[in-house]
């Protein structure tokens, strides 16, 4: 789960990472008041869960309270990178002397966390990484061995800092590591970490992505995640609530499968055969008949869907359960749209028999199933 900038900053502040004076607002008047309270020049920042806000008009500066109101009026409810702006963060404008970059994330290949740090932070950090990789310090660390203050100091030193500033920067790096571990983050990032003209370090932006699999041990974040679900399309929300991975796409062939790899391969094949998938839906492992029913209901609730392709390879998933789910949802929905079913694996025979009994013929080969469903649409 991605956190909003203001949420991430609240966590930073709690863990000793300096953040700018600021306030979250939901209405233009509030924004004007916040600008007044903060005093001087302020930044008004759209709170959306997307990177690259600044380049697309999501961040404005002003030192005028009335103007702050006007900016807020324009921003609230507008769309930034396709996402509706619901709230703004009004913050003191920092007097920037330098922009740094610090991030903690997962290094899949090395099977550990990695700290990335650079003195060339800001919006172009990825370009820096590509063109002059030496300007980015990478430091791998684990959970068991931990990350020690002297390791953070060594990173800050390599960034070219000395004395008090080095120690302060090291503390921020160490605290960012603590945020990552304490909150089960997949990513905790400060870009830019501003060094002000007064020589202080302040996190000008903040990005945290929480590992969804770890939400169970962070009750507060879990509640937030639950609330977020309500903001999805009702279809996506219901699917996710039941553990289904569902993504809306723009075609007309509903696709249901088990295992992300197989579903992706199925989408690829549909497209390769000239068809257009209406969605991605992964039943996950060991789906029950009820889950299958819910999946079908979800896919079919989309009026654009003209046909459905079900591709199940049973391992943990039992084919007979899938068959039962299909049958019971057909009974319930009285569905007329055509359906192609391909089912192989654990309890395959039972499944085929069950489906045969209600007149559904099972296709054995995936290529054949895909061709069949694409052909059905063409008719």
């Amino acid at each position: 789960m991605k956190l909003f900038e203001f949420e991430a900053k609240k966590i930073f502040a709690k863990q000793g990472i300096p953040i700018p004076k600021g306030k979250v607002t939901y209405a233009p008047d509030e924004a004007g008041e916040a600008a007044h309270e903060i005093g001087g020049a302020v930044a008004i920042k759209a709170q959306v869960l997307a990177a690259g806000r600044g380049k697309t008009g999501g961040i404005k500066f002003t030192d005028n309270i009335e103007e702050a109101r006007t900016i807020a009026e324009k921003l609230i409810g507008s769309k930034i990178k396709g996402l509706k702006v619901g709230s703004l963060l009004v913050e003191e404008k920092l007097r920037v002397s330098k922009e740094l970059f610090i991030s903690v994330t997962v290094d899949r290949y090395a099977r550990c966390y990695v700290i990335l740090a650079s003195t060339e932070g800001g919006v172009d950090i990825e370009e820096v990484a590509e063109k002059s990789p030496k300007k980015i310090i990478r430091y791998n660390l684990g959970v068991f061995k931990g990350f020690h203050s002297y390791e953070a100091i060594e990173i800050a030193r390599k960034m070219g800092y000395k004395g008090r500033k080095m120690i302060t920067l090291a503390t921020i790096i160490h605290n960012l590591y603590s945020v990552t571990l304490d909150y089960d983050a997949e990513l905790a990032e400060i870009n830019p970490l501003v060094e002000t003209e007064d020589g202080e370090f302040v996190a000008a932006d903040a990005r945290i992505i929480i590992d969804d699999n770890a939400l169970y041990r962070h009750s507060e974040l879990r509640e937030k995640a639950m609330k977020r679900l309500r903001e999805l399309t009702p279809r996506e929300a219901e699917a996710r609530r039941h553990g289904l991975a569902y993504v809306d796409l723009e075609g007309n062939i509903g696709v249901i499968g088990n295992g992300a790899g197989l579903v992706m391969a199925t989408l690829d094949l549909v497209q390769l055969s000239g068809g257009k998938p209406a969605n991605f839906l992964d039943l996950g492992g060991g789906a029950s008949a009820d889950i299958v029913k819910l999946a079908l209901r979800t896919v079919l609730s989309k009026p654009e869907v003209d046909a459905v392709l079900i591709n199940v390879l049973g391992g943990i998933t039992r084919c007979d359960e899938v068959a039962r789910g299909i049958i019971s949802s057909l009974n319930e929905l009285k569905e007329k749209r055509p359906m192609v079913v391909r089912i192989v694996g654990t309890r395959e025979e039972e499944a085929k028999e069950l489906l045969m009994n209600v007149g559904i013929k099972v296709t054995d080969e995936l290529d054949e199933a895909v061709e069949k469903v694409v052909e059905l649409i063409r008719r």
Binding site: A51, R108, A129, E189, L249, Q271
Partner: protein, 289 residues
């Protein structure tokens, strides 16, 4: 010969009395897997399909010898189970459990490495050596003894391809799902090295997918070290919508990698045969063998 798992490899099942653990213990036994003990805290002293159940690995170890542990315990307890397995002195741990937090996986891998223990998974279908033994959840009717090794990030995609290989008569030596999580134990390269030294394996199939840079690392490795057996790769997700982006750091860690295009290009550059469709895998295999 096959790799990692052989007929007679002695297996302990952690979480043997759970829903998944119980169901698959029965299927594994039916396949011929030599399950010598099970562990479920609080259920010590009972029996499960003729397998003795113990409260701890230490207790199980005091009465049995085992080579492999299969972990079926729920995600919140999986880390402890894995560390218990590692502490027991076992050499191979197969973690079937999905939804394990990344932090836990990182700790498992760190400690396994320090102890010289191999881990397969988590979030994986396990490992099967056709006709000999399986530790995991693969549907057995899909597999047949033969000459092709399969290593994959995706469970069901493995079944898809294995099934085609069985149908075309080539069959498999060992099939190994390394798991779909960001952090896993054995990786593609580890598996490829093992297959390379296995006499029985005459060709290897690698099933990748978008995300991460595991496939690109394979391409780099093959370009550098070469590979003495036919190697066929398939990558799922060419047409998938772009997934969540891991901030700036994600892009920096993997560079511009992670897309199907990047992976396929890397494979091509390393001279690895590329299958456009899962069904192409067998077509290429029959040509090469």
């Amino acid at each position: 010969m096959a790799i990692l798992l052989r007929r007679g490899s002695k297996v302990v099942v952690q979480g043997i009395t759970g829903r998944q653990g119980g169901f698959h213990t029965r299927l594994m036994l039916n396949y011929g897997t030599r399950i010598v003990a099970g562990v479920t805290p609080g259920k010590g002293g009972s029996e499960f399909f003729g397998v003795k159940v113990y409260d701890t690995m230490v207790d199980a170890k005091s009465k049995h010898d085992f080579d492999v542990s299969a972990i079926f315990v729920p995600a919140p307890f999986a880390k402890e189970a894995a560390l218990e397995a590692i502490d027991s002195g076992i050499k191979l741990v197969v973690i079937i459990t999905e939804h394990i937090p990344i932090k836990d996986s990182i700790e498992i891998m760190e400690r396994a490495k320090a102890a010289g223990v191999s881990v397969i998974g988590p979030n994986c279908p396990g490992i099967i050596t056709s006709g000999e033994s399986k530790v995991g959840v693969m549907p057995i009717q899909i597999f047949k003894p033969g000459v092709v090794g399969i290593v994959s990030r995706s469970g069901t995609l493995t079944y898809e391809v294995a099934w085609k290989i069985t149908r075309c008569g080539l069959g498999q030596t060992t099939c190994l799902g390394i798991g779909g999580d960001p952090v896993t134990g054995l990786n593609f390269i580890d598996a490829l090295k093992l297959f390379e030294t296995d006499d029985k394996t005459r060709a290897v199939v690698l099933l990748g997918e978008i995300g991460g840079n595991a496939e690109e690392m394979v391409a780099q490795y093959i370009e550098r070290e070469g590979y003495t057996k036919p190697l066929i790769a398939y990558v799922a997700g060419r047409t998938a919508p772009p997934g969540k982006r891991m901030g700036h750091a994600g892009a920096i860690v993997t560079g511009t990698l992670g897309t199907a295009k990047s992976k396929i290009e890397a494979f091509a550059a390393a001279g690895i045969s590329i299958a456009e469709k899962p069904s192409d895998v067998t077509r290429i295999l029959t040509k090469k063998l």
